[in-house]
Subunit: 231 residues, 2 copies
Amino acid sequence: MKRKHTYKFPRAALTVDCVVFGLDAEDLKVLLIQRDIPPFEGRWALPGGFVRVDEKLEDAAMRELSEETGIRDVFLEQLYTFGAVDRDPRERVVTVAYYALVNLQGHDVAGATDARSAAWFALDDTPPLAFDHDQILKTAHDRLRGKVRYQPIGFELLPEKFTLRQLQNLYEKVLDRPLDKRNFRKKILGMGLLEELDEVEHDVAHRAARLYRFDRKKYERLTKQGFNFEI
Amino acid sequence: MKRKHTYKFPRAALTVDCVVFGLDAEDLKVLLIQRDIPPFEGRWALPGGFVRVDEKLEDAAMRELSEETGIRDVFLEQLYTFGAVDRDPRERVVTVAYYALVNLQGHDVAGATDARSAAWFALDDTPPLAFDHDQILKTAHDRLRGKVRYQPIGFELLPEKFTLRQLQNLYEKVLDRPLDKRNFRKKILGMGLLEELDEVEHDVAHRAARLYRFDRKKYERLTKQGFNFEI
DNA sequence: CCAAAAGTGTTTCACGTACACCCATGC
DNA sequence: GCATGGGTGTACGTGAAACACTTTTGG
């Protein structure tokens, strides 16, 4: 039996929730888990759970992500804190939402490594979610769309080595508009942040494209000198 | 004596803190209050306090702001949630930080209407703050500097009717760099978001400048059509 | 040899930037 | 009439946008 914990005033419970984005050849996707307990039993929801009292928020988000989906070592950033009084039917629960970007080429698209069923959904084809998770997902999508243009976070969605076509495809999917190939290449190469590798892609039924790698060190150096990334 | 509230697992306390920015003729300022109880008794801190269990986060921030500084009906937006385990020496406290923008021409610069001493400090001349409030203040300042360029939130720092010189001064203070007068006017007037009034400023020892008003309705209409504000 | 995607430059136009003088007003 | 800030236009350069063909490779 657990110890009891008593306070002078009632306290909200504190949780974290994670919006995990991934990109495959067709779509921008989000990772959802199916709830196996009430409330909203059987419904799809964002991975997440309670914050321990001796654990910082980001650690809690990482831990829940790892426990529920098997995902670890990914880009994770705080999104927003949702605190509507009735967002959880049981009691007052405030949730700190995070969003994560993972490389879908690496991880298995079919599902995650955990007991609960987890699956990737195209962003424009998600089922109705538990709690206020639809709202959280929309907030995360808006944030991603806004942020990808002026911070080099898009690379988190690609494997370490990627082609310019993959990179352009990423921006087209996230921004939801077509980009001009020549202008895109001119701009992105003009920034000098991509390392051109002596390597090409494999197993394609046409001319193989050259591979590049994002030079994070150089980006950080330039940023200190006032450089601003922008697509 | 209060009722006791008991939970199966220990819970963090939840607070809100507000970074209130104001602009006067000289500087960008922040509103601080002096703590009259431990911990950090006597130190300056951001206004803030505990979230009630039946109150949403933004309401809590508004309420604390009003109680501690007399300020109400201002622009208020969530900033970030700070959850380091030892940020409060007493126990685990997670705080949802907000930032507010107020028009200093209206409010009294000397202080606020409350019992506790409150005062405006120039941003580059703040005392060491309680808890992790220096970090929160820095985060808020960074957010303001970033956001003012592509969202028309700067107007919240000015009175309803303002001169173009005041507006330019605002951007120069927030962005911390000089702007060219003619280019600034060309750009801001070119957006067509300022309503030119048949009125000029008063009590100046030189030619009086024309007054303008920000046309929020028009901004919202244009935004829906894909317009992007940018300075 | 055909299908598929890789890779490559130039022109045009809009916008950002740099820059200096006359005007209106209060004292 | 003088001091103070208000108000105005143009020239130049940079960067965004539009646009089509040749090359390489696998099958």
